[in-house]
């Protein structure tokens, strides 16, 4: 019997608003415990929530970017449960009438075709605090500490639809997560840094017979701190559920925790123990009504999304699929690329230099493109010099390193250090003669018809000319000199 997985994510994204969802406290990371709290976010008696409009805007942004219907009327609900990191004893969330419903996300599937993944809803809620367990054993038995800095930070919950185009493979799962994160970053509502807890995921998984419309019992997996762990957890869970089904038994509907050292999932609570959250509309917050103008405004403010960009790049710049995908991964890079274009004479070379040389520098220095010294016009100027043969690729690389650090003008560097390619053949010829004299053995090998040592001589001449000679010209000169 062949089984296929039905995978549904519940992703939580912390929004990068300036202040929390229902009070004026700043949204921060890594601050000292309980330094960004107030009577509202610590649930002091008598306090009331006041909705942060920016967070609502961000939620609608996400909804539009993920092709959702935006409900013209929405409301908040209380999700009731007891936990020390939840100061009010309920979380303000959404239940009936979330802001966004019925969307989809197109992802890459096998052989590059794209498939839509159904998104059931996107809603806004407040984050909970953090429990800090004492490091000393004696204490940890008696106490935990609570940090409420995170309490009330706006959180998006993005829920996949298990009925409408659910994810059906690990590959799809991975590309869904990556694409989702990419879009969230594109529309600039969260940095989505997983290590900072800005992007967290639970996942529901069940197996069903291939092409069956009937769903099997699902398990929910929690506690996965990276994309890799999510995939590992799914991998394990698919194996586990397959074995159960093959043995003729039934998968228990339950919540499981992922153990990242053992790479297995372990039962956390059964269906019977599932809490009853007693959702009901929050009477402290009015219904929210959107007018068309509000939604249109957000629609118009959305940036071009990755898919649109890829299509346009292929059409407009005639770039390869690979180059396009690489260039559009990060919005900042895409923007940089396009900012270079008005000044650039060779777009393919521009793309190549960004993907190979600039990426290398960015990765090595872990500096963002905005914080580096590279400015579009200057970078494009460099590409122009290279593609016109004014400077060699070799020289181009060193100039790039310099402007990356200092931000100095390419033309200034090239002139100051007289780095332009040597156009006078006789200069190269004299250097070549010197090199041949110093490398008689190699020269005779070439004369005998060996091709390999040619590169060595080219390299030597490059050295003599401080990289300023065109290697192709040198090669031609060597062959002419030694073979004719």
């Amino acid at each position: 019997m062949q089984y296929e997985p039905v995978i549904c994510f519940e992703a939580h994204v912390e929004l990068k608003t300036e202040t929390k969802l229902f009070c004026d406290c700043l949204v921060t990371y890594g601050a000292n415990p309980n330094t960004h709290i107030c009577p509202v976010c610590t649930g002091q008696p008598g306090t009331l929530p006041v909705l942060n409009k920016k967070a609502v805007e961000y939620c609608v942004r996400a909804g539009l970017a993920l092709n959702c219907t935006i409900n013209r009327e929405s409301r908040f609900a209380r999700k009731n449960y007891f936990y020390p990191d939840l100061p009010k004893g309920y979380q303000i969330s959404q239940y009936e009438l979330p802001f966004c419903e019925n969307g989809f996300l197109e992802i890459e599937d096998r052989n590059g075709s794209s498939v839509p993944v159904g998104i059931k809803r996107i809603h806004l809620e407040e984050d909970a605090g953090k429990l800090l367990h004492s490091l000393t054993v004696a204490d940890s038995e008696n106490y935990s500490y609570v940090d409420y800095n995170r309490t009330g930070i706006p959180l998006l919950e993005i829920v996949c639809d298990h009925e409408r185009n659910p994810i059906g493979s690990l590959k799809q799962a991975r590309s869904f997560l990556e694409k989702l994160r990419q879009i969230i970053r594109y529309i600039e509502i969260s940095e989505c840094i997983i290590e900072k807890g800005q992007f967290r995921c639970d996942v529901n998984i069940s197996l069903r017979q291939r092409d069956s419309q009937h769903f099997g019992n699902r398990t929910e997996i929690k506690n996965m701190a990276s994309f890799r762990f999510i995939i590992e957890a799914l991998e394990y869970e698919i194996k586990r559920q397959t074995e159960i089904l093959r043995s003729g038994a039934e998968v228990q509907q339950e919540t499981r925790l992922f153990d990242e050292t053992k790479k297995i999932t372990l039962p956390m609570r059964s269906k019977e123990d599932a809490p009853d959250y007693r959702y009901f509309p929050d009477p402290d917050l009015n219904r929210i009504e959107f007018d068309e103008e509000f939604i249109e405004g957000i629609k118009n403010s959305l940036p071009e999304l990755p898919d649109q960009k890829i299509r346009r790049f292929v059409d407009q710049y005639e770039l390869s699929q690979y180059d396009t995908l690489t260039l559009t991964k990060e919005k900042s890079i895409t923007e940089f690329f396009e900012a270079c274009i008005p000044y650039c004479m060779n777009i393919k070379k521009l793309a190549g230099w960004i993907i190979n040389d600039l990426f290398k520098l960015l990765n090595e220095s872990s500096v963002s493109i905005h914080d580096s010294g590279i400015k579009p016009q200057n970078f494009a100027g460099l590409i122009n010099l290279i593609s016109q043969g004014e400077i060699t690729e070799e020289i181009g690389k060193s100039v790039l390193k310099e402007i990356f650090k200092t931000g100095e003008q390419v033309s200034v560097i090239v002139n100051k250090k007289s780095l332009k390619t040597i156009q006078d053949i006789s200069v190269i010829e004299s250097k070549l003669e010197k090199v041949i004299v110093e490398n008689q053995k190699v020269a005779s090998q070439i004369k005998r018809g060996e091709a390999k040592p040619v590169n060595f001589l080219v390299g030597q001449v490059m050295k003599e000319t401080a990289g300023k000679a065109n290697p192709q010209t040198i090669r031609e000169l060597i062959l002419k000199k030694l073979l004719e």
Binding site: G43, Q44, G46, V50, P87, P283, N286
Partner: protein, 485 residues
Amino acid sequence: MELCDFTASELSVLLRKREISSKEITESVFERIDEKEQQINAYITLIRDKAIKRAEFVDKKFSKNSKISPLNGIPIAIKDNLCTEGITTTCGSKILENFVPTYDATAGKKVFQDGSVLIGKTNLDEFGMGSSTETGAFGPTRNPLNIDYVAGGSSGGSAAAVACGEAILALGTDTGGSIRMPAAYCGVVGIKPTYGRVSRYGLISYASSLDQIGAIGRTVEDCAILLNSICGFDKYDTTSVNIENPNYLDSLKKDIKGLKIGLPKEYFVEGLDPGINDKILNAIKLYEQNGAEVIDISLPHTRYAVSAYYLIATAEASSNLARYDGVKYGFRATENIFNSIEMYKETRNHGFGKEVKRRIMLGTYVLSAGYYDAYYLKAQKVRTLIKNDFDNAFEVVDIIIAPVTPTLPFKLGEKLADPLQMYLMDVYTVSLNMAGLPGMSLNCSKIDGFPVAFQIIGKAFDEETVLRAGYAYETFIQNFDKDRQ
């Protein structure tokens, strides 16, 4: 008659003439407290030293500026479910017995800004859950008119304090009748404004969609003075409504000729004390004699109000009271606690009283999976029907007159053992909270030494007409008394 027996409007005139000082009034109030409080137990917390200092400060700053609020220098009591910065706010509960808020409730802040002098925090049913001010952790409040009887609730402390001169004015809160009922039992005036008229910020929630802060005074005019101070939109309470606030004193004395008064037939039925029934009909006759028009109306869904109210109120309460878990503030049980679940259980078991626990359990049940539609949702539908009843009635009439309570004050402990009997005391008051309408309780007569009150119900945000009708009634009575002399 001592200074503490004067009304706020009388005192403000004397203060403005500098014939008396705020300190003298405040001292007079504390003398009365010394004399009566031990019996009445209107207060949970008294702040004598702070109050005297505050009065001295107000006296020093006093100017003859005509714009100064009539509240300036007037001693006021605040119900102990309204947060006061630096002053213990208990909600009448052991679970908050040591809770000191870090901020003032907006309504409190406003009356302080207008120069009033806080005397203390008044007693209440625990978290406002009760109709007799007996369920709190700090003993019952007794009715100043007869200390064997209850003061009504849940703002019983506020009403009793105003009734016996332990305060000139008081803030109360009303979720299902908690201002109007004790005002009726103690023989003072109490008004619950329209939902959204006064910010709830700093009011410790019982049932968020029903709670509203209001005023208790000895006259309609005094209530108008206090309302002028506390009404208005507050950005910290997004359920408060951003509309213009009239000056309630401006329209207070206008004529009521032609005023259309509705009498709901469902309110004058079996179950209403016949004595109360007669006295209210007498009051209505007075209105008629003075040019008002009386119209019979129907509020057909009245009989479902109490049931629906107790579903909605307890549902919201079960959630609102979840924050009292021993983690952050208030009482925490520490004996034999080995994990957080036990801490919650023991803290809440020992911190809450019987009635609060009853309502939390009821509300939890109401919201539970499988019951939500049958109870909570259905109750919300009833709520809409009740609101529609009033909307229809107010197409024909300007105000509605109704009883406040079905019976006269009862003895302490008399109904404590029978919660259902107690809940039925709210039969005439809860509908207004469900519909969000303003209502005022006003004294109209006496039976066996106990006050009889009637209720004036107004359209949403039309407190002006309610107050005007109330003031008119007071004037009829004064003229009537004068005629007799």
